[in-house]
């Protein structure tokens, strides 16, 4: 028995001695907290080599998780990648530091149309990272109607083959948009109508899922799903020819994931260096190429057009100007958010 204990001790010693604890070096370590599988990680090595700054790279699954972790405190963050509405909440609640744009010369490559967004009107806090839409991902072997309207998610023909997103904003948003309302509605009557619409749809729905949707559609488990354009691009790059993506003509949600510096940051300057690095045309291009998402970087887009002209035909990568006009970017709902949450719980429990 003693031998086992000894073995244990030796193992521990070896582990602690040989494997260097991440971020235990002498230099600066910045905490970068990103969505899972959302960055070409070889770029991080490159940044470390170039600047000598170490990066502690960790990942999260949802905006809400990020907000909860930032709000709970107890951790310091230097660069995080929240979406639009989460950014506006962070700004409102003083959770972010103002970025010094003189340290980010590469900001000039960001598409002018994406500067000064609604969620950060004076563009003091955020730098766009990727953007996209919400739409309907479908299997062309199983769907023969045109997928260009939210109505298809309510079509009884596809009973049991529709997946919805277990996200209040997205699912309720689709219903609101189908009714011709804004996805940011704070009108009780409009919400009641949308809720009724989702309840009416419930018998047709196979399930409400999170990010597993992509695999279900790829696997032919369901005919269509409400999901992000990123899922569609993922499957496109992987070579699924029978999977397509439609953006409803009524308009949809356009989302932006941006880089911001939380108030808990201890290394603001280094964080800005990291942001600037990510905006470098070559880096931004390689990141977009590896991840498949649409870059806000004009130079990166130019290179994408040269090397992958075909993706600009896909609504998932390059949605129609007209539809974007009719679409909404999520804004923070403040106190009203609890109402949205309750509605989803009520729909699911029934």
């Amino acid at each position: 028995m003693k031998k086992h204990v000894l073995l244990f001790l030796v193992l521990t010693l070896i582990l602690t001695a040989v494997v260097p604890l991440a971020g235990c070096g002498s230099g600066v370590v910045i905490n970068v907290f990103n969505w899972g599988e959302y960055m070409d990680e070889s770029l991080i090595d490159e940044f470390e080599k170039q600047t000598g700054i170490k990066v502690n790279y960790k990942t999260y699954a949802t905006n809400e998780e990020l907000l909860a972790k930032m709000e709970a405190g107890g951790s310091s963050f230097d660069v995080v990648f929240p979406s639009d509405y989460a950014i506006s909440e962070m700004i409102k609640r003083d959770m972010l530091l103002e970025i010094d744009f003189s340290n980010i010369p590469n900001f000039k490559y960001i598409d002018e149309k994406l500067k000064n967004p609604e969620y950060d009107p004076e563009n003091k806090f955020s730098v766009p990272y990727f953007w996209g839409t919400i739409g309907i991902l479908y299997n062309t072997d199983m769907v023969d109607d045109p997928v260009d309207s939210w109505d298809i998610l309510w079509n009884p023909k596809y009973k049991g083959q529709i997946l919805m997103k277990k996200d209040v904003r997205d699912s309720l948003g689709a219903a609101l948009k189908k009714l011709g309302y804004s996805m940011n509605s704070t009108n009780d009557n409009e919400l009641a109508e949308a809720k009724a619409l989702l309840l009416e749809q419930l018998p047709l729905v196979n399930g409400y899922y999170g990010d597993e949707i992509r695999d279900f559609i790829a696997n032919g488990d369901a005919a269509m799903a409400l999901t992000y354009s990123g899922d569609a691009m993922d499957l496109y790059w992987e070579g699924f020819e029978n999977i397509s993506y439609g953006v409803p003509k009524e308009g949809t949600n356009v989302w932006y994931d941006s880089m911001v510096i939380p108030a808990s940051s201890k290394y603001k300057k280094e964080a800005e260096m990291f942001i600037n690095f990510m905006l470098d045309p070559d880096v931004a291009f390689r990141n977009s190429e590896a991840m498949g998402y649409t870059s806000p970087n004009t130079e990166a887009i130019k290179r994408m057009r040269e090397e992958y002209p075909e993706v600009f035909e896909l609504p998932a990568y390059w949605p129609d100007e007209e539809i974007i006009e009719k679409s909404d970017v999520y804004v923070d709902l403040g106190e009203y958010k609890a109402k949205y949450n309750d509605i989803l719980t009520q729909i699911l429990v029934d």
């Binding site: 604890l21 905490n31 969505w35 790279y57 960790k58 951790s75 999170g210 992509r214």
Partner: protein, 259 residues
């Protein structure tokens, strides 16, 4: 006849237990990134394992925390069990009830409660808080595994040793500890298993500077769990299987190993 029924029954149970594991292992050799789609055989994910810094780091934290928390909670738990065994009845009842709380409490409550504690005493969430959390939920299991063995212990043996001139420490080392060793080992094994597999409590207490495999897998769900994780799990699974087989071989006497 009865034997045949038993065989069939156990085969069905084992099929049920191993079906998802076989799926995982098979898909670790799958070229396609999507589950359920066979894109041809590849070893790429195993090669990728050595390049992926996030997986490397998560594995490192998982093992380090499991080893440290097992070591600490086994030692502390055994000492505490020795003490509890010698307490008055009332004292023992109170302490054991307190000790049972993390066992009875849902993980999610334990995790959330510890997180609120760390945050309210302004402790930065990270490696240390995660380690403490793992020790917190491991010690009770060690105590629960060691105590029954202490109860079975023949009091007179230790007394005899003392009468024969052994120092208390010597008596402890040579008489008591060997007697309760099976309890200590099974306590340590429970602690190690729980630590390796824990998701919920780590998720709430890890902060951003530490992580473990479960947390990483959970955050990967957004873009589909990378088959690299399947490759890693396959390797870990085989390691455990081989280790167990070796232990079993050495332990041929048929002693019970209870995990």
């Amino acid at each position: 006849m009865q034997k045949a029924i038993k065989r069939v029954y156990m085969s069905i149970i084992f099929l049920f237990l191993y079906a998802p594991i076989i799926v995982l292992i098979v898909f670790s050799f799958n070229k396609s990134k999507s589950r359920g789609q066979w894109g041809g055989f590849t070893l790429d994910w195993y090669i990728d394992l050595f390049r992926d810094r996030q997986i490397r780091e998560a594995l490192y934290f998982t093992i380090l925390i499991a080893v440290l928390s097992t070591l600490i909670s086994t030692i502390v738990g055994t000492i505490a069990a020795l003490g509890i065994n010698n307490m008055t009845k009332i004292g023992r009842t109170v302490v054991l009830n307190m000790n049972n709380l993390p066992v009875l409490n849902p993980d999610i409550v334990t995790g959330v409660a510890l997180m609120t504690l760390f945050i309210s005493i302004r402790m930065e969430l990270g490696f240390l808080t995660m380690l403490i959390a793992h020790i917190v939920f491991s010690i009770p299991y060690v105590i629960l595994a060691v105590l029954p063995k202490l109860r079975q212990l023949n009091k007179h043996t230790a007394e005899a040793a003392l009468d024969l001139g052994a120092t208390p420490a010597y008596a402890m080392r040579k008489v008591i500890i060997p007697e309760i060793m099976p309890g200590i080992v099974s306590g340590a094994l429970i602690a190690f298993t729980l630590s390796i597999d824990d998701f919920v409590i780590s998720f709430f207490t890890a902060g951003t500077s530490a992580t473990n495999l479960s947390i990483l897998i959970y955050s990967m769900a957004k873009r589909g769990v990378k088959p690299t994780i399947n490759a890693l799990s396959t390797l870990m699974f085989l390691t455990v299987l081989i280790l167990m087989l070796i232990i079993n071989k050495k332990n041929d006497k048929g002693e019970d190993i209870i995990i």
